[in-house]
Point group: C2
Chain length 260, copies 2
Amino acid sequence: MGRAHETGGRAVPQYARIAADLLRQIEDGTLPPGELLPSEAELMRTYNVSAGTVRKAMAEVRAGGRVETRHGKGSLVKKRPPVRQRSSDRFRRSHRTKGQAAYLAEAAQSGAVPGVRVLSVEHRAVPDDVAPLLRVAPGTEVLARRRLYLRDGVPVETATSFIPRDVADAIPQLRAENPGSGGIYARFEGAGHEFAEFVETLQARGATAAETEVLGLTPGTPVIHLVREAVTTLGRVIEVCDTVMAADQFVLTYRIPAVD
Amino acid sequence: MGRAHETGGRAVPQYARIAADLLRQIEDGTLPPGELLPSEAELMRTYNVSAGTVRKAMAEVRAGGRVETRHGKGSLVKKRPPVRQRSSDRFRRSHRTKGQAAYLAEAAQSGAVPGVRVLSVEHRAVPDDVAPLLRVAPGTEVLARRRLYLRDGVPVETATSFIPRDVADAIPQLRAENPGSGGIYARFEGAGHEFAEFVETLQARGATAAETEVLGLTPGTPVIHLVREAVTTLGRVIEVCDTVMAADQFVLTYRIPAVD
DNA sequence: CAGTGGTCTAGACCACCAA
DNA sequence: TGGTGGTCTAGACCACTGG
């Protein structure tokens, strides 16, 4: 009993109905931010369904991004659903000369406590998808700076910068854990490179197992995969930054000037 | 038997291991594009797990976006995983004067057959989240143009344009199903509006039930929610376009000029 | 028709959390 | 300790696809 087609001839499965119910309650404030959702056992009772069905419903609710589930505790409505703002002018030179790296510049606007952890700085073979962007042969050795960004202590983004050897070797600070005031872009400029533009290419997809691990996500949770190329006025790409962000933590905005 | 901690003391669940296995095989070409994945029954046999476990693994594989599952048929590796390119210069005026709306301009680059279906053109109350962007009071009546974009016949994106009454009333073609050559932006320009910039704000999240329906997605599949404001040289926002895209169908690129 | 994925059940055992 | 979510099983019935 309880099959979708029997409970009223509907084509919509029970788990979808339960998920929609919960999402609506979050939407209209019946379940306010910070509130604990009904436990799965309770949902089983109130909807008269089995555990598997409730779990599938909850998986869908989680995918919506407005809920956070903690093992042994329960699921609670997130306080500020979309949080960090990544915007076009985060790369302003004026920020760097004031000593703010891009992520600090935007953290200032959003009121959360930011953090960075440098995971590794090493020479390694360039990944196949990055090689053409840097205009180097596949397998060429480059400098890779891998770091983890935190927001209020929780990981929200990983980023890996790839820099050609000849550029990196000329700037010793790039091999240091802390590249100094203004971040690595300030170091590039200090070494005479002048930026013309940044090109960001992004797509969204479910998190892979590896990303799930590093960012502390539930499997299948959406992530944004963004690759940024830093182009100098000489037309050279001197850095490619590959970042993966927990999708629910970011809102991105871009300003596109109208052109002919 | 078969629990995660018993099969070798690993903390990684079986479904994750199976999903990773399949994703790796897709990645390295063991399962080439167009190929049918092993059926769920076969996976149960080869990995010696139950149906539920295999289904959870497949759900994770699907979330990766490289696989398409058809009921009664099986799961197959998508041909061209990321397909449509949405780029910064899709709004070039030169495209419009040549009679190409933005979506046609980019479709030309990607080799697929594009399509649009106008779902509705009507006057309605502005949504609460759109009102502040248009600088109108909540509940104000605006013109809403809702359309569905197709790629090779399958829906990939819904878009709803909101236009203030005073702007819309002056341009009769905006109420027509087909706004004419160059799209609605060409009509705005024809009526004397000059665009200064477009501001795009986007986030990624799992699809809601309603989106699942319209776009023909699996529940929980990632979507990109993008809101574009069209700003004129007079500083007025004359259109807000709210779009939801199937995430696996789009790669977005933005060019950000370096500024001080 | 046989084979495929989709929904659902009932029950087991585990890992985490808080009192 | 009792309640919570997380993983897994074994089996049922359904709906869709294709020959």
